[in-house]
């Protein structure tokens, strides 16, 4: 069993589908953090078979849970305080996401006005459909 030291203060992102941890690492901008970040790939899981785990040292403000909810809302977020799980956060699909994904519609105003924020609204929760706020094109 691979052993990675426990966190005193920080966040553990558990039940990440195997192979998705690097995507999450990138989308959350974890590469820009100064704190310790551990990525565990293909950990054994009774529930999932294989899973990825990310451990991040530091406060909750280091992670944008909205972004995380969009990428994979079934991830378990454990908040660690004094070396113990103090809180479990349930992720939901965010109603609105800003500058996480970009509109690819060449007819959208965002294609020519470079400084506009790329904003997507959740229009169908069941099918996880997000549409660009400006042109209403579905994100694929």
């Amino acid at each position: 069993m691979l052993n990675i030291s426990g966190l005193e203060e920080g966040i553990v992102l558990d039940h990440i589908p195997a192979g998705k941890s690097m995507d999450i690492y990138k989308h959350l901008g974890l590469g820009h953090l100064d704190c310790q970040v551990a990525i565990i790939k293909n950990a054994r899981s009774a529930k999932m078979g294989r899973k990825d785990i990310i451990k991040i040292e530091g406060g909750l403000d280091t992670v944008d849970l909205n972004v995380l909810g969009f990428i994979e809302h079934k991830i378990t977020v454990n908040i660690i305080r004094n070396g113990e799980i103090a809180e479990k956060k349930t992720l939901r699909l965010p109603k609105k996401i800003t500058n996480v994904i970009r509109c690819k519609n060449p007819r959208c105003i965002t294609s020519i006005e470079q400084e506009l924020p790329h904003i997507f609204n959740l229009t169908d929760e069941e099918h996880k459909i997000y549409r660009c706020m400006y042109c209403e094109e579905k994100y694929k």
Partner: protein
Amino acid sequence: MRHLISPLDFSVEELDTLMDLANDIEKNPEKYAHVCDGRILATLFYEPSTRTRLSFESAMNRLGGKVIGFSSAAASSAAKGESVTDTIRMASCYADICAMRHPKEGAPLVASLHSSIPVINAGDGGHQHPTQTLTDLLTIRSLKGRLGGMTVGLCGDLKFGRTVHSLINALVRYTGIRFVLISPNELRIPSYIRDNVLEAGHIPYTEMENLEDAMPELDILYMTRVQRERFFNEEEYIRMKDCYILDKAKMALGKEDMCVLHPLPRVNEISTEVDDDPRAVYFRQARYGVYIRMALIMTLLEVSPC
């Protein structure tokens, strides 16, 4: 302050009030001839448009207001690289209300987010054209006396025609509407309208390829243009093209009180021999377009006759 960006920005009740006002303007134009004295409409048209721009200008002039603006991107600061955001901030200093047409989808919404004056979407690419939808609704309500309880035939390019999509979205809010969707297979209504609007809302509809078969049951026939370039092969176009040309013979199959609408411009999809038929209302529709824009300008500027 309100804007009109999507045809669904107004509730059914608000639309009724708006159309009541438009009908009163039609009956008593002199009552409204000076309600916008001293007010200025900016027409910010980043792409050429004849009917929509003239309709807006006519509407504001008939209300006693004045119009400034440009009619192509080349004639505006957009040619120098100015953003929509900056242009609307500038226009907010010069005018009291603005109508914007832009080739890029969502541009009027961006404008509305940075504007200190009401913004009307006068068409944004293939996305929305809400004042055309309001025109269509007013025409139907004025000539049929209702917006529910009827069979509406939509004919032609149902895949790319934004006016058709907007009209379906607007009409499903009324009870007793049934659609007959008449188009070649290549130009059928997109699945997101069929699934998310018609199926999801349990709206009765039938799809067919032949206009003649549909004619006898229609209360409204909304014609659109079928363009040659939309077909995948020439053979199919030749086989189908005459099917979508409305002529006297097809009109003879229709009900006596049917109304034929068209967003215009018409090319050859309605034969000119149909123009004299009292059921051909597409030029009256253009007139209703002015009345509804007058009502809209008044509503957004919050002005009323003394």
